[in-house]
Amino acid sequence: MKSAVKNFKGLSDKAIAWIFITPTLILLLAINIYPLIYAIRMSFTNFYANKIGREPKFVGLKNYQKILGDEEIWEKMQITAHFVCWTLLLQALIGLGLALLLNRKFKGNELLTTLIVLPMMLSPAVVGVFWTYLYNPQVGLFNYVVNFFYDFGVFDMIGSSTLAPWSIVIVDTWMWTPFTMLICLAGLRSIPNYLYEAAEVDRASKWQQFIHITLPSVLPFLLLALLFRGIENFKMFDLVVELTSGGPGSATELASINLKREAFEKWKTGYSSAFAVILFVTIFGFGNVYVKVMNKIKER
């Protein structure tokens, strides 16, 4: 078959393949890989991007040593970890729960799914802005509703350093739970009916069916959803910048926000490039390990 197709007129398949792929690769190399290599090179210098004309000096691994030995950076990493862990946990539980409920096919199912999904399609920055209004301690709807159920008096979700880390967890969970829900739902719908029929024949209880059939089938889907969310939230920037801008103090200063401050406010290009490389390696490393574990679970 292959040789039959080969002899048609026009360019050879091989030529077409390269003509079709090259523009994409060139763009990615120019706008993604070149900047990355540039950043890696800069991470070994004391370059300041706002001081044009000053020759950057090679400083070896100094930037990396400084970052890894800096307690403040570790604080930022802890803040990031708090955000990532809690959002993943909440989105996994609520998302799976909603998917299980939606899987009991009732009327209006599709319409409800579409409506529930809306928050995650919105612009995170704009979502951040309007949640500052909902969280407003004097006039905010969120505060009013909370006080309606239990009277806490005046409280400031964004202005208090103990509450602020939770304020970003709540908004991110509100926004992205539909994501895990949708993917889990696809997992649930992929389970063939005969598995449950066989279980019924064996007189397995509903609970046993859930543990031995439903959960293992959904798990790969849930893990995939968490991988996507984990990567996104580790580099979280837009939502939190507009919501708390990293404050109060640095209570919600996630890694990306810190990076932005170092790179675009203090213009420490060399230092911030080193931090960017560390973040990238962390995401890549975690991602790789996670995918390996995920594939092992899938194989079982």
Binding site: Y34, A49, L118, L122, A125, Q138, L182, F237, L259, K260
Partner: protein, 314 residues
């Protein structure tokens, strides 16, 4: 055990319970969005009253404030002016202000449209070409190339923003529409290639082979047979790219200022007297969110595929 129905069918009661919980969740989760849309129709005073007003007298003050710049004037000056000609002038006058000109909102909104459409067209076009090649031909290192394309999505935008900033400054692309279109095209390419490859894999090879036997060249077969067949997939991919460019914030806030700034970095900066002008922010947000909501409804069948880069198909 009730044997009259299939054991797989949930009982009427459990189905009703599930529906109730889902409806409650839907209502609660939509309150924030409803609230910001409602706020856009409030007056400035009503937007900052406590307890929050659920029922209020609708006002277009937010929309007027969104589209205009105003300045406060002494009463004597206002009295000396000829009577207002339009309803919005009258509204502004009643707040003891005069309109000094249009605001930047329309400019920012059209920037969002220009950059969004430009980047969407380019990334879908280039993505379709690459996807076809990956789907049909033996490309050396195919899996590695596909993974490389995906991995570009893992970079934190801030990590590459400084080099791009410097590069754009040298090339004269800083704060230009073209620069932002190229940038968003690149960010969208990974998604476009992955999604479109999935869609093209689903089109039987026999279609183009038949066309080629009829005398089409491979190029003609691609443009006249494969592309029309892949139209649904292309449309879905285009909407996903559009939504991304529309919503993007990090690059926009770091790389643009005056000329090519899009709406997301602009909306938070809408300030009235003595703080943020909530009805105007609500109005800007509402106008900004409406296209995305429409897109979401149009896309609902392909949502899952889009958000997982084609990894999960229904």
């Amino acid at each position: 055990m009730d044997t009259s129905r299939s054991p797989l069918e949930p009982s009427g009661f459990s189905r009703k319970l599930a529906a109730t919980i889902i409806i409650v969740y839907m209502v609660v989760t939509l309150i924030p969005i409803t609230w910001i849309v409602a706020t856009s129709f409030k007056s400035v005073d009503s937007a900052i009253s406590y307890p929050p007003e659920v029922f209020f007298e609708p006002s277009l003050e937010g929309y007027v404030n969104l589209f205009t710049n105003r300045s406060r004037q002494p009463k004597e000056y206002l009295d000396s002016l000829p009577p207002p000609e339009t309803w919005y002038e009258e509204l502004v006058r009643s707040r003891e202000m005069v309109i000094t000109g249009p605001s930047k909102f329309i400019g920012r909104y059209s920037n969002s449209l220009i950059i969004g459409f430009g980047a969407t067209f380019l990334s879908v076009f280039l993505g379709a070409l690459a996807a076809y090649a990956f789907s049909r031909f033996k490309v050396p290192l195919k899996d590695d190339l596909m993974f490389f394309i995906l991995s570009t999505r893992m970079f934190p935008p801030i990590a590459v923003a400084v080099p791009i900033f410097i590069m754009y400054r040298k090339l004269g692309l800083g704060d230009t529409h073209l620069g932002m279109i190229i940038l968003y095209t690149v960010v969208n390419l990974s998604l476009a290639v992955w999604l479109l490859k999935g869609f093209m894999d689903e089109i039987p090879k026999e279609y183009e082979e038949a066309a080629m036997i009829d005398g089409y060249s491979r190029m003609q077969a691609f443009f006249k047979v494969v592309l029309p067949q892949a139209m649904t997939g292309i449309a879905a991919t285009a909407i996903f790219c559009m939504i991304f460019s529309w919503n993007e914030y990090a690059f926009a806030v770091l790389l643009t200022q005056f000329n090519a700034q899009t709406a997301p970095p602009f909306i938070p900066t809408i300030i009235g007297e003595g703080g943020l002008d909530w009805p105007a922010i609500g109005a800007g947000t509402t106008l900004f969110l409406i296209p995305v909501m429409i897109f979401t409804v149009v896309l609902r069948k392909h949502l899952l595929r889009g958000i997982t880069f084609g990894a999960v198909r229904k």
